[in-house]
């Protein structure tokens, strides 16, 4: 018998504090597995955000730096400019990246900063208890949009991948989801390609991962997977928006 799947060495032994069924766990695994498979764990520095994954520095088995809300790309820039031979990644939620952090993420793309961003988009602020995010869907309820988001009040949800893909320095931009094993496989492939883009020195790479928040969406983890498929994927289409050498 051969072991074909076990816990990645890219993760520490610490059990995560994430809610049952939270897809952060899946995404952490994919990043950890990719770094392990690329053989770069010992040369990697990750930057943790503010959000549910604020404690990501306890879960990834590599050097980690805790950033303030939204600023992880700037922190990562500082690290990468000092240590250009190392692999540097940020791991950010949608409140972090698409709200307070929009300047920083646009500018790492703009500068073509050779870092990789894992953007976990669950259309809500998780850690702080379910407030509306720039990515919250129209009609979706949140604690600061108790009657559901409306266009008149808050505009349409922000499509980050499409926006960043217009920037030359963003060499690799792809949106994936982790609601089914098939999508998880595609997500891992994209994450690997993103890190390879960094290793090849091609520029900024980002993978937007459509994710669930069962607790703040108010549903079971299994129902949340279905809600993601029925509601997030139609508005945030999966696919590659930019790849090194390709013009779309």
């Amino acid at each position: 018998m051969a072991v074909v799947y076990q816990k990645s060495k890219g993760l520490t032994d610490k059990e995560t504090h994430y809610c049952p069924g939270c897809t952060h766990g899946i995404i952490h695994k994919l990043v950890a597995e990719v770094l392990e498979e690329l053989g770069v764990l010992g040369d990697t520095i990750g930057v943790a955000p503010v959000g549910c994954s604020v404690l990501a520095y306890d879960y990834f088995n590599c050097d980690m730096h805790e950033a303030s809300h939204g600023r992880a790309p700037a922190v990562a820039t500082g690290i990468k400019r000092v240590l250009p031979d190392k692999v540097v990644f940020t791991y950010q939620g949608d409140g972090d990246l698409a709200s307070i952090g929009t300047a920083e993420i646009v500018h790492v793309a703009h500068r073509g900063e050779k870092i990789t961003t894992i953007f976990v988009n669950n259309a809500i602020y998780g850690m702080t208890g379910g407030q509306m995010a720039p990515t919250t869907l129209i009609g979706q309820r949140a604690t600061t949009a108790p009657l559901g988001r409306t266009v008149e009040h808050s505009g349409m949800p922000l499509r980050v991948s499409e926006m960043l893909a217009t920037i030359d320095g963003a060499a690799f931009v792809e949106r994936v989801a982790v609601d089914t094993p098939a999508n998880i496989r595609k997500a891992k492939k994209a994450i690997k390609e993103a890190f390879q883009c960094q290793l090849d020195g091609k520029g900024f790479s980002i993978v937007e991962v459509l994710s669930t928040c069962p607790t703040n969406w108010g549903m079971t983890p299994i129902d949340a997977l279905k809600w993601l498929n029925d509601n997030l994927i139609p508005y945030y289409p999966m696919g590659n928006f930019r790849r090194p050498g390709e013009v779309k």
């Binding site: 018998m1 072991v3 799947y5 076990q6 990645s8 069924g21 094993p181 997977l225």
Partner: protein, 71 residues
């Protein structure tokens, strides 16, 4: 004849049930006869002879509960 075998690290299972959606032969289930140290019904497989060793369940699990072996 089973093609694969899965082992569950029961005490770290959070009972989320995502693994049960991933299994193509629908043998992963929550063991409602017991609760683990966290107070959840852990995931398990009763019909291991049907396991095809695809590792979908392990891939789906956010907490790396499942180890998969293939013959």
């Amino acid at each position: 004849m089973a093609k694969g075998k899965v082992t569950f690290n029961e005490d770290i299972c959070k009972g989320c049930g995502l693994c049960t959606t991933a299994c193509p032969v629908k043998i992963v289930t929550m063991d409602t006869s017991k609760i683990n140290i966290k107070g959840f019904h852990p995931a398990t497989v009763f019909e291991m002879d049907k396991c095809i060793g695809c590792a979908n369940c392990a891939m789906m699990c956010p907490d790396s509960v499942i180890t998969v072996e293939r013959f």
